[in-house]
């Protein structure tokens, strides 16, 4: 008696043998891997596109990120801030209670009760205004950027790529080789399920703010 596995595989093989498919061409059609634009244009495009998806974006020169972070948190009224355990020291604001997620120590309830979360990112995509998290440096685990209602994300200008293919290529290391979970974030959460009006803010952080550095 064959197992389900053997039977399904058997059916697949039989189907393909009975009607052999025409061979698929080798290689790939030449879709764009780069838009040929200079990096500065990518930074500007990223800021524009992220804002299109209702993420608030601000750009500051290198060295000013600490101040920008503190300012954003102050304006938001954040008192209890969840953070991953490896944030750069000069990002950490004074006068705010830090909930450090060491070894996944913060419970769902604690994260839910925080006023927001501060992280960096893996990279950002200009064309689509997307920020990508891969659980690497300064990002922490997924629940950290999911439960709080406010996410302040620091993007270094050098992390911005132009198009989606470049991003996927760069993510092959963390995502495929290292098997880390990867999350693409393009604006705060939305639904178009009610008569197709896009409604922002269902689950996930309803406010996303981005600070672009450099």
């Amino acid at each position: 008696m064959s197992s389900a596995r053997e039977e399904v595989l058997g059916r697949v093989r039989a189907a393909l043998a009975a009607a052999p498919p025409r061979p698929v061409d080798d290689g790939m059609p030449a879709y764009r891997r780069s838009d040929g634009e200079p990096h500065e244009a990518h930074v500007a495009l990223f800021i524009e596109r992220a804002a299109d998806y209702r993420a608030e974006v601000r750009r500051v020169p290198r060295g000013a990120e600490g101040e920008a972070i503190a300012d954003a948190l102050r304006r938001r009224g954040v008192r209890r801030l969840a953070v991953p355990s490896d944030l750069p020291a000069d990002w950490l604001p004074a006068g705010v209670e830090l909930l450090v997620d060491r070894d996944g120590g913060l419970s769902h309830a604690e994260l839910d009760a925080s006023d927001g979360v501060l992280t960096g990112c893996a990279l950002a995509i200009a064309q689509t205004g997307t920020v990508v998290l891969d659980g690497g440096a300064a990002q922490g685990r997924r629940a950290l950027t999911l439960l709080p209602d406010y996410h302040l994300c620091v993007v270094d200008a050098g992390q911005i790529v132009g198009l989606v293919p470049e991003a996927i290529e760069r993510l092959a290391g963390p995502g495929a080789e290292e098997r880390r979970p990867v999350t693409f974030v393009s604006g705060p959460s939305a639904t178009s399920d009610i008569e197709l009006n896009r409604v922002e803010g269902v689950h996930g952080p309803r406010t996303l703010q981005i600070v672009v550095v450099g």
Binding site: L9, A15, P21, L146, S189, V202
Partner: protein
Amino acid sequence: MSDTASLTPRVPFPEAAREALRDTQLRRNLGKATTTIRAKRHAVVSELPDWAELRDAGARIKDRALHRLDEQLLRLEDAVTRAGGAVHWARDAAEANGIVTGIAQRHGVREVVKVKSITTEEIRLNESLERVGIEPVETDLAELIVQLAGDTPSHILVPAIHKNRAEIRELFRRKLGVRELTDDPAALAEAARRYLRERFLRAEMAVSGANFAVAATGTVCVVESEGNGRMCLTLPRLLVTVMGIEKIIPEWADFEVLLQLLPRSSTGERMNPYTSLWTGVTPGDGPQEFHLVLLDNGRTRVLEDAVGRQALRCIRCSACLNVCPVYERAGGHAYQSVYPGPIGAILTPQLVGIEHAPSLPFASSLCGACYEACPVKIDIPTVLVHLRGKAVRAGRSGLRGRFGGESLGMAALGRTFSSRARYERAQRVARQAQRPLVRDGWIERLPGALSGWTAARDLRAVPSQSFRDWWRKRA
């Protein structure tokens, strides 16, 4: 065949459509919704100078996966297992349900949160869970609406498109116990958010579908808008993903193409709000136990058909639904399958066998708008006509079909056209036979099988001189 009840129309499409066409609210909602999405899709697709190349690449990627599906499945199984996940195989819906409920029961789970899965609608997982006392909680807003209403989904992407905001408000007031509630979409979304947040925080097990799974790496991908996917995929300790075997893609790099094609084709955005990729289990981050259920349930039957198997390329974007003039008017329920619209018309009959859904391939005027919109270039009109051929052949294999009115009529017409003498005689006969029906050069009533024409159209009378009569006279 209770296993495929979700895929098997009970009445022929024309009958179901007739009733749906009368629903003015459905017509308004659908018309507005599809027009809106069409415009959005058109705008973001026009932005890309390489859209044609991306479509070609998408078709190629999916064909590569399908043409060596057994190899790809084994690669995937191996990669997921090495990454700490468990892989299960399900021949049909019953088997898949058994696997999922078994996992839930072994862990003593009483409540399961669900995300993004028409596949679980296909296998009717919720019924199976409920039968053993486990409560499934739909977390996609539209699926929640459909669940609360005790209804069925009518669109792949926006399953509650047949409901308007006032109906949704009523539903939430009754079922969620929210008393003060306006019908403003933002308020409705907020009510859903609060109701579901509780469930997310206490959920022990989640069931998801998958948009893609990479054979080479074992990476599974879910594309979503609301954040409920991230909630389900991250918070519970136990995650089960039910995935049709056709969702496999060979390589990580294939995301370069598919994550461009899908968001632009489905919601008409450059990128959807959240896309989650995960591989097996990651210590300290998310579920610590992951199960992947590979589902056949008729897909291998589709694979057998050299012309029809391109339907398995489908990435569930629903672009074809949104451009289809038939779907726009008749709505999803008329197809009576969890897969409606143009893709449903070719996928459903192949999954269950043409004899169980013979009217679906005919539910189309063959306008071709779907093929134009499909991001993976499924030639839906060609497959529709191909399946019509199968339907006719299946019908003619029995005596009743072989000697039924249409079959005989078509055979007779074929013979008429196969000889000049017979054809010209038939032209003369038509000219004669129409006489009693003609008034002032027009026919307002055709009898019998042709009466559908004159239900709303006049027919100009057959002229007294055919073209070839004129040509001969002129010589």
